[in-house]
Amino acid sequence: MSEVLEYKCPCCGGAIQFDTASQQMKCPYCDNIFDLSTLRSYEEEMAKDAGDNMDWGRPTDEYIDPSIAEGMRVYSCQSCGAQIVSDENTAASSCPFCGNPVVMGGQLSGELKPDLVIPFKLDKNQAKQALLNYYKDKKLLPRTFTNQNHIDEIKGVYIPFWLFDADANAHMRYDASTVRRWSDEDFDYTETSHYLVTRSGRATFSNIPVDGDTKFADDLTESIEPFDYSQAVDFQTAYLSGFFADKFNVPAEECVPRANQRARESVEDFFRSTVSGYSSVVPANSSIRLSNGKVKYALLPVWMLTTRYNGTPYTFAMNGQTGKFVGNLPVDKGLYWKGFAIRFAGIAAAVYALSWLLRLL
């Protein structure tokens, strides 16, 4: 059985969770707040207690229920003893029976321990409100869509990311030209002047994030960027309490090409912006060398909700630190064409009236 961590309130023994507002551990039952170091000391002392050895023949750690699919793991809830089945990457979850938050410490220790974490700054109520605000201005949203949302199922998830740092040295070459035209009585002339343009320089990148979990769509996790890494802290499992979390299942090496691609695009865009005054500029050669590369493993906070409408899943995500909300919404075709027709008639009538007025003048 993997190691499962639960944090109990020193006052009332309830399952204590990380509170986004105070950025400390808070007991939802007695409202007491404890800082992380205090709680850690309490847990260490409590762990020294020896419990009764009442062997009722419970399954051993080596027992593997054949009905459990490959890639799954079984944990035992410390509060109610229920068995929690989750996939092999889950690092934090909640007990489906008693609702207590659980952290699978073994998933995030040793070599798997994240370098840093950005704690949740926004709570569930703020996430739910953000979702409602997101729907508000959407004129083409089917009216029944919001009725079918399970908004309470929105959950806070720590998503594993790889953060890449590097220095980039670039040398760019462009073929540029200017065009001049003139005429005389007999001919139209075109003069094209060709130039060789070169630019060299450097740039430093810090914390380019790449999603390290295949469970979350990359376009969704990139859409909620950026995170403010100045608020990142050293990882402690206590931050995960009350939230869901996964460890990475995509190694850093497989994420390097994506970081490289984004860095390259940025460097090419920057140097291209320094070439001006030409009719056309065509990149001829691009040489970008990266050095001093570093990789960090981080858990970043995201509020997520997946809902279905007409058989199609729609996933929404909110940056748990900044509140940026993204998600694709369905479009009601009837509303679309109705809006099109009204606007078409209005614009056509306005243009025709204006043209008639100009002719009168």
Binding site: E185, F270, A348
Partner: protein
């Protein structure tokens, strides 16, 4: 023995006479006066002067004061004199027909490529500065030497390109000339279009626009393969000016642009502040060339016309309104629909620059230019369209060289 000696003696005498005959034959004068207004003594001195100058420049500098061409005409007479007589293949000759009161410049060989219209004007002007006939000829010879020897005549410029500032009247001091020339050269190189100024005392009775065209053509003005440029000629004697444009200059300095340009500098010319006026000329040309380079020559009119008939329901306008309505509505609804899709991959990592990227080195190198042309379609009346209907008008004409120029003229 005596017979042989006698024959030898006679042979020697004959040879001596033959050689001495050639030696004492009449020397071909470079300064010729059949009219009789130059004294023999002055004529001798002038010939010495012409001989020295000719030897120095490697070409014959000739002056002919003709009493009568005997019906040949000054051109034919001069051509005969310079060709038949024993002169070199490179000849510069000023001939004055006192019977017809005309003067004529004859050139041949390499001199022809050096002596253009402006040089002829300079030579005539120099001739006219003398107080009497002998001094006039002497001034002419000095000026001819100066031009052919490639000395300070022209006020600078490279061997490959004529100077963009010609001050024949010396109204500018040396430092003022340097300032103006620097401005003209800077604009010309930056915009790849010659911007030039010529100051003369008079055009010798010629139309100032024709004078400007010919000065431009025959002195090698024009930038690059297109020969583009603008030249401002100012005649101080009668306070007149003319502009000649060529190549891309015809488009950049259209009729409206020329009016704008002269409105800017005429006050300076009228007040005699030529240095500031010419610097303003360079600055305004830069401004007009910039506008043309950006695709909007001075005076570009983007306004449209009205309807072409008075019907209340005009099918063309109706169709256009419907089209605009459909397009506008599609764009509007597209914007609303796009707000429903906020999930997309990030193309760049611009949010993750640590500090500002730095450009260590940049280089823009001109390689080459190429000019292509397309013949304009003829209109029904056989004429060609003078210019693109969407461009401001630029009146053009053909100069004496056959080249197309734009231009205008006026007084200040």
């Amino acid at each position: 023995m005596k017979r042989k000696q006698l024959l030898s003696f006679i042979t020697i005498i004959a040879l001596v006479l033959l050689i001495s005959g050639n030696v004492f034959a009449e020397k071909i004068p470079r300064v010729y006066d059949s009219y009789g207004s130059i004294s023999a003594q002055d004529l001798s001195k002038l010939n010495q002067e012409a001989d020295s100058a000719s030897a120095a420049v490697g070409a014959d500098i000739i002056f002919c004061l003709i009493g009568s061409t005997q019906g040949k005409g000054v051109e034919n007479w001069t051509a005969s004199y310079c060709s038949v007589q024993d002169f070199s293949s490179s000849v510069l000759c000023l001939a004055i027909d006192m019977e017809q009161n005309v003067y004529y410049f004859y050139t041949s060989g390499s001199v022809s490529s050096i002596i253009g219209y402006s040089e002829q004007t300079a030579l005539w002007n120099a001739f006219m500065t003398g107080n009497n006939d002998a001094e006039c000829v002497s001034e002419y010879i000095s000026k001819a030497y100066e031009i052919l020897a490639g000395s300070n005549y022209g006020g600078g410029g490279t061997t490959d390109h004529p100077s963009r500032l010609i001050d024949e009247v010396d109204v500018l001091t040396a430092s003022e000339e340097a300032n103006v020339l620097a401005s003209l050269d800077a604009v010309s190189e930056k915009r790849r279009c010659d911007v030039a100024v010529v100051l003369v005392n008079s055009t010798g009775g010629r139309d100032i626009s024709a004078f400007a065209d010919d000065y431009y053509d025959y002195n090698g003005y024009g930038y690059g393969a297109s020969g583009s440029g603008i030249m401002l000629v100012i005649s101080l004697g009668d306070s007149s000016w003319a502009i000649s444009t060529a190549g891309y200059g015809i488009t950049a300095f259209n009729d409206a642009a020329q009016q704008y340009l002269m409105d800017k500098i005429t006050p300076y010319l009228s007040s005699g502040d030529f240095e500031r006026g010419f610097i303003k000329y360079a600055e305004t040309c830069d401004e007009l060339l910039k506008m043309a380079d950006e695709g909007h020559p001075y005076g570009t009119n983007n306004g449209g016309g009205g309807g072409d008939d008075d019907d209340v329901v005009n099918p063309a306008w109706l169709g256009g309104s419907l089209g605009i309505g459909a397009l506008g509505s599609a764009i509007w609804m597209g914007g609303i629909k796009s707000s429903h899709k906020t999930v997309s991959r990030k193309r760049t990592a611009n949010n993750y620059f640590a500090g500002q990227p730095i450009v260590d080195h940049g280089n823009d190198v001109f390689l080459y230019s190429e000019v292509s042309r397309v013949r304009k379609p003829r209109q029904d009346n056989g004429s060609r369209r003078g210019h693109d209907e969407n461009e401001p008008p630029s009146t053009t004409h053909k100069s004496s060289s056959g080249r197309t120029h734009g231009g205008s003229q006026g007084r200040f």
